[in-house]
Symmetry: C4
Subunit: 389 residues, 4 copies
């Protein structure tokens, strides 16, 4: 019975109890309130990192407006006493069509950083996608995730030795997919970030995977701990590869048998190309509006991409997801699953692992109830028929 | 002559007199002002109950925006010296195409709760739709309504004995229709409600019909007054039935010869199904935006539903009605009548029965004048020709 | 040369001089600033009268938004050294395609009321349309207008003797057209007006034409000055005629040979009917959004009406005009001239006759410059080619 | 490598360093913040000059909204390690598709006025378009620009002798094109400017080219320094020519062999006419929304103009450009280059030459990064395929 015993919506009962008990410390459920609360505790530097977008923020707004334009037409008097959110993606049985988006530098947001979010996700069986720019090494994140599913997000380094080393490390650390981000070989023009902060490396976070890497260290005359200047210079040269092209993908596939996910796809031709080059999945994403101001909303780009790959590989959607309805809409438009970005940082900012847990449970509870109230008993049933024409 | 002697617009003359007399206590006429005034007197718990919507409130806004997009094209120099608002719905001769929407827990809003709103509606001959989650029993509401028309809104309980008992009670109490709500077998995800309050049962209201029910009480070892814990547990098990399906409707029709209205319809296929299953009317509604955030606006869903039932049964419209123009628009789009929801709660909050009376008289006066000023002498003449193409 | 010697844009030079001279009392040119300044000096009662609209104000907003949606495509390198704004309407040679809209009760806005606005309009040769509900008699307004053109706006009284008397009076007072308003036989539902004020008669203004009328006075046992109660009752019975229909128009045409203008037309069929009944012109108007909330914007209704009358009579546009561009847009969509409403009240509120003069000169200067900058040397050249498709 | 060594995006590295160094005086990068900061330091007179628009500012808003409606669809995994922004326009090799728009009276904004902006532009090789209404003579601006490219914007004076003198002077001062502005032979109706300031000549700036001109001076009995009144009168007569028509263009072409650019084109027929009359380029512009309120957005007018000239001459776009994305959008819609207007004034207001340099470098850095992140290695590759359909 959904009413009180749904796996995820049961969390609401716990929240009711907290309110009854007068718990003044309770984290907000309202997403806008959660965002405001997080903004109030973040430093300027962390604010720029979390909220910063490209240019005037048009694409950040576009991501949300695209969701708001889509309307659901719920159906009723169907048996929804048991809701199935589970979805198989790239061989992983996910408890819900949801992953944690890769976000670097989480130490700016909370002292426990990526480890806290990885623990929270793992406890729910939600895959964490560890960023190359994490403020922890992939091994540390893997240890935090324990038995939980984990994917690794790759910024392709300029040096092949380092690339090979990274790939080997994430394989050994139990990551089950490599998510190659193609839309951020350089930061977009982010006025807020420049005005308030400077990017991650200015803050001294986000290079942990390099500093801990044997191949990287072998390229230095002295260990980074002893010569930070030289390490920083090498890091800035090595961290990205703007000349990367489709032809390079073959090399990565030779380095690893892990499924390759290409993240940052907005054009159907790029989706087709990714599939032709062996991608096991693509992520339709505009990097949360952080790269090209004025870029198409990811939800708006989704249908043509789904159409282009024609079911050959799953398409994931990233950007603007805030609620259960948003997940339903993305799936109805053809996404296999969605990535949750900024909201989990709000939880992290406010209460570390517990905050991320809260945000995830709220989203899952919302999703479970919204599906039930749409007359959909399983995410497998979701398609365009639930949308207003 | 409409000018001063119209049945309902005459109320405006009384309001003028109040102003002339300098009555500082006068209730606002302006709907936005009325809402603000009500918000100012409601407790947090009542605010969450009255204003709370699903998720980010997109569907609450969509309900209003759908009305705002529709434009009327008034006609003139027609004889509108006598305006007829009356409409026959399910055998009841209504003085206007208007009913009070079923809303539970009105004791949170005003001490007199449902009895006050029932008395106000009855005085005008407007049907009240008593909610299963009322903070009064159906018998108490019937007594308050006196000779006034009344319908009963049913949340189908999980136990058939309780269902049969409910149906018998409302028949004996003089209700003339059963409105089965299909879109709220569980609460939607309502952040404001969770953050501020918790649902009705957390507040200890809304279960009066259960606690007073012989079938319910017979299932308890001890009377609820003596063992609140056990009663609460049984209530939470019994109050809803998420596995309910279209096939179950036959049982309800066997239990009662009262006309069955299905409320919560948004898809034309569900409307057709309801008619095929013997519904005497359907209510196009998204539960005031409280259940699925992102659900289609009810006014937007209306035309396809009207088209689907093809005149076989009346279609009622619920959600977003605030003014006489809104009623005209809904009827022009094919609704037989509309349900008024939140606005009457604002009146109730401010002044109990008198406040509901004020809100109803304002709406009826506005409707009467708007019809006259559209060149329409009777609601029976309203159709799509009054709308801008 | 438009630059400095255009007939109307020369006013700008005077304004520059005022600013140079540091005149702190200068009236604002910016329309929004003018509105704010006026709002600050108006009493509550006058505010309700000036700003009040039907319901939630949707049609007031719609009137403005309709103008904002239309875009002009200026042309250049045409000889616009002499701009001709003049237009012949109903036999009057107007200096510009502009008339003062009929607005009653101007004594609430400024002590000099209608006489001030009539004097300001007359000085520029702009026709004033005196309202039946004026706070001055038609004779007083005519005297103020002197040699200036004047039309009379008629609310058709319920008594034929009074009607005949009114018509005779305005003929004798030199009015050259009768503008029959068909959309306000009763006030619309205006929350702000009810909440703050009550209508004109509650304020004791607007019945001057009745109280001074021989036919009206002859129906009273004692003069109104001695028995205000009886006069008030008769006034409320006599002032309007909600049963009026198209068939009645013949009687008015028999009473007077003055051209008959029908004001309040929104539907093309009503425009056709008016022409068939002998109207010499129609005014496309929704009464400034004061009557039916949700009514179509008058500018939006205009093209179909222009199309319906097919050039047989001029179509005037009323509602939402604020700037020279607005006049250009209305004329490009087929209006012969426009009526200016609320803005002249702002000038009246701030500085009486001088304020109305300021508002009119600003609008004419703006219009003259805008036409020149669109490459249009004469209003006669304006048509749809200036509009963005 | 774009990451750190792109010609223009390298400026971001310098900004990071400033932030790291805690430079509290740093100019904002965020365009909205920059605008606010400039507004805070400008006098009322300068504010009216910089921010003033025609009427209610609808076209100022329309210019921005037109950019916001266009969406980019970035492509990835293309080699963008070297970005080429250079473009050849009218024989000049521009380092980027960007020119400084002609804006007069810059002395109101900063004591160094046009000389500061000319120096900043010249340092980057960006052409400055010197306005006829500059608060410096063309010779002074040329001297400031040094070896930098410069075009001259012409308001055609009413006297042919002065015209010939102007043309000769700008040829001798090394200007390489004449930009004839056709949309401002008289100021538009600008409420803010009238209310706060009056136009340039009221401020005593903008007539420097006249006062320094031999032909102009020869028409005066006494030098302007000795008889300001007579000089002012002659200036007001001579400064513009509202009767100018297409036929006059031949005379200008006979006076000079410099390429003629026609600025202020919004209609495709005017674009065709300009080309037929020998224009070497046209500028699609609505004068930054300062002339006709309600005029079409320049970006919206662009495609039809590009289509009309069919590649025979370059089309430049002016109005609303604020970011790198805006430049990409304009070029994708067919513009050969864009003019940057108000933003450089913000920089000028805040820090003179250094401020203009900052604004230009930010825009170029943003453009370089945005192109790279769109997968476009050269502006020559930009076309409609980058736009969302």
């Amino acid at each position: 019975v959904v009413e009180t015993t749904g796996e995820y919506s049961a969390y609401r009962e716990r929240l009711y109890e907290h309110r009854r008990a007068g718990d003044a410390e309770a984290l907000p459920v309202d997403p806008a309130e959660l965002e405001r609360a997080a903004a109030a505790v973040l430093s300027d530097v962390a604010s720029a990192h979390v909220f910063g977008g490209a240019g005037g923020g048009e694409t950040i707004r576009a991501n949300r407006e695209a969701f708001q334009r889509v309307r659901l037409v719920p159906r009723f008097l169907r048996d929804v006493s048991a809701i199935r959110l589970g979805r198989r993606v790239l061989g992983d049985e996910l408890p819900a069509p949801l992953l944690l988006a890769p976000i670097g530098g989480q130490a700016l947001v909370h002292a426990d950083g990526e480890r806290a979010s990885a623990r929270a996700a793992a406890a729910l069986g939600i895959p964490v996608i560890a960023s190359t720019r994490s403020s922890a090494t992939p091994e540390q994140i893997a240890e935090a995730a324990g038995a939980g599913p984990r994917w690794f997000q790759l910024y392709w380094p300029a040096d092949d030795g380092i690339l090979a080393s990274f790939v080997g490390r994430v394989e050994r650390a139990g990551y089950s997919a490599i998510v190659l981000t193609v839309d951020c070989f350089t930061q977009g023009w982010r006025p807020l970030e420049i005005d308030l902060a400077g990017p991650l490396e200015v803050q001294g976070v986000g290079s942990e995977i390099f500093l801990s890497d044997p191949a990287f260290r072998s390229m230095l005359a002295r260990p980074p701990e002893e010569d930070r200047e030289a390490a920083g210079q090498l890091y800035r040269r090595a961290r990205s590869h703007p000349a990367l092209s489709w032809d390079d993908l073959g090399r990565l596939r030779e380095l690893s048998s892990l499924p390759l996910v290409v993240k940052g796809i907005l054009h159907p031709d790029d989706a087709r190309e990714a599939v032709a080059r062996g991608a096991a999945a693509v992520v339709c994403s505009n990097h949360g509006g952080r790269q090209v101001d004025g870029a198409i909303a990811s939800l708006e780009a989704l249908p043509a991409i789904v159409d282009a790959v024609g079911g050959s590989v799953p398409v994931l959607l990233d950007g603007g997801v805030r609620s259960g309805s948003d997940v339903v809409k993305a799936l109805a438009l053809g996404a296999a699953a969605v990535l949750l970005g900024r909201p989990f940082l709000y939880g992290l900012a406010l209460a570390g692992e517990e905050g991320v847990d809260h945000v995830l449970r709220c989203l899952l509870g919302d999703l479970e109830l919204t599906l039930a109230l749409c007359g959909i008993a399983s995410v497998a049933e979701l398609d365009g028929r639930i949308l207003s024409p």
